[in-house]
């Protein structure tokens, strides 16, 4: 989904995620969803990214190892895993947020402006190898001009 600021991209995504109630009409969700919206604050600042992931994955009780090796190809991901979150950059925290959204092994991913904090290299690597990284159908919001190469379809 692309559009200018204030167009309602995030609102629509929150509606689809079930984080906002619809005023009228009908909305049916099937299967489990994963959610990402960038937040700069982390749950526990003194834990490394890997420790953070271990805590969150024990919440969901699912094995996510099959995706980890792919994500390690992203710039800054390995460093984020080893660094205390209090010392991580915004981009590294965004990577953690994105990875956290797949920990429940969702069938659908809803990502709100995931590319804002990612480097062009990471944007391209992610978008060209989407299935390897997430294993889920994904709906993302982004600004005009931020659509990386791998995306050929614009839903809205």
């Amino acid at each position: 989904m692309t559009g200018p600021n204030g167009a309602g991209k995030t609102t629509l995504l929150r509606l689809l995620a079930g984080l906002l109630e619809i005023d009228s009409g009908e909305l049916t969700r099937q299967g489990r969803c994963g959610w990402f919206a960038f937040r700069s604050l982390s749950l526990m600042d003194r834990l490394s990214g890997m420790e953070h992931i271990k805590v969150l994955s024990s919440v969901y009780g699912e094995s996510h190892e099959q995706y980890l090796s792919h994500w390690k190809q992203l710039e800054g991901f390995q460093e984020m895993l080893e660094t205390d979150l209090g010392h991580c950059s915004q981009g590294m925290k965004a990577l953690l947020g994105l990875y956290s959204s797949i920990l429940s092994l969702p069938e659908t991913l809803l990502w709100d402006e995931p590319f804002s904090a990612l480097s062009p290299f990471n944007q391209n690597l992610l978008s060209l190898n989407w299935c390897d990284f997430t294993g889920a159908r994904t709906l993302i919001t982004t600004h005009h001009g931020q659509i990386p190469e791998g995306f050929t379809e614009v839903a809205l």
Binding site: G18, L19, L20, R32, C33, G34, L47, Y60
Partner: protein, 266 residues
């Protein structure tokens, strides 16, 4: 699964809470400083009806009994706010996972931390000052802490839901807690208040009831379940469960209507 979650959180909790090697040492030091403060306060300001040691015992028992409930209460509120600010709440809601379970696991670990702190207090008081009750009473006292964890957990989750979903209430709850602590009889007997306040306290302050149960236990009067204070505690427990259900459901509904709060009170 819940045990795996608690085990995982516990593994990293120590690093989060005590990031420096001297963290444990500072905990011991702060315990000793607190006891010294109680000791000299009691020396200077012992009420007419209590000698110095009697007042030291009074203050120490007040601290021992109320430390854990207030600690759980505040940690729960802080945790839920942090879960909201870090986006974990949204992720859990979308994945239809249980926020309740996650908060319970975290607070269970804060409970263990609180128990260690109480153990330190009792040990330090016994070694360097004076333990105001027989050491044999300690297991019963810790058992009482386990019982009180559950109502406090529900209270904490309920207040935390208000803070999380509306972004308000943390500061005012800090003020209310100070008053509840003041009016519980932790620092002086509630008999000094006018009779109408004394009669009102059990209705407005569950901590006063709980403290009375603790004092009675440590005076070796037993843990009879059919006392007026226990009945009051059970009533409060059911009220907290109800409050949790109401605040969480209404809070979540408001959150889904209006979206996340624009700001959180700090």
């Amino acid at each position: 699964m819940i045990f795996i979650l608690i085990k995982t959180i516990l593994k990293f909790f120590i690093k989060e809470e005590y990031p420096r090697w001297y963290g444990g040492f500072l905990e011991v030091l702060s315990t000793l400083l607190m006891l010294a403060t109680f000791w000299f306060t009691s020396k200077a300001y012992a009420p007419a009806n209590l000698d110095q040691q009697g007042y030291f015992a009074y203050l120490l028992i007040g601290e021992l009994c109320l430390h854990l409930p207030f600690s759980i209460l505040f940690q729960g509120i802080r945790l839920m706010k942090r879960l909201g600010l870090s986006g974990v709440v949204d992720q859990l809601l979308v994945a239809q996972n249980s926020l309740f379970r996650l908060v319970f696991c975290f607070l269970s670990i804060y409970f263990v931390k609180g128990i260690i702190r109480l153990f330190l207090l009792i040990l330090s008081a016994g070694l360097f000052f004076e333990l105001p009750f027989p050491i044999a009473m300690t297991p019963k006292f810790f058992f009482l802490q386990v019982i009180v964890f559950f109502p406090i957990f529900f209270l904490s989750f309920s207040v935390g839901s208000i803070v999380l979903f509306w972004g308000r209430g943390e500061n005012i709850w800090g003020q209310i807690s100070s008053w509840l602590s003041f009016l519980s009889g932790a620092y002086f007997p509630i008999l000094i208040f006018p009779v109408w306040i004394q009669s009102l306290l059990p209705v407005i302050n569950p901590f006063a009831l709980y403290l009375e149960i603790c004092r009675r236990l440590l005076r070796q009067d037993g843990l009879s379940l059919f006392t007026y204070e226990w009945i009051g505690i059970f009533c409060w427990f059911f009220f907290f469960i109800l409050a949790t259900v109401v605040t969480f459901r209404f809070g979540l509904s408001a959150y889904r209507k209006r979206g996340p709060p624009n700001s959180y009170s700090f």
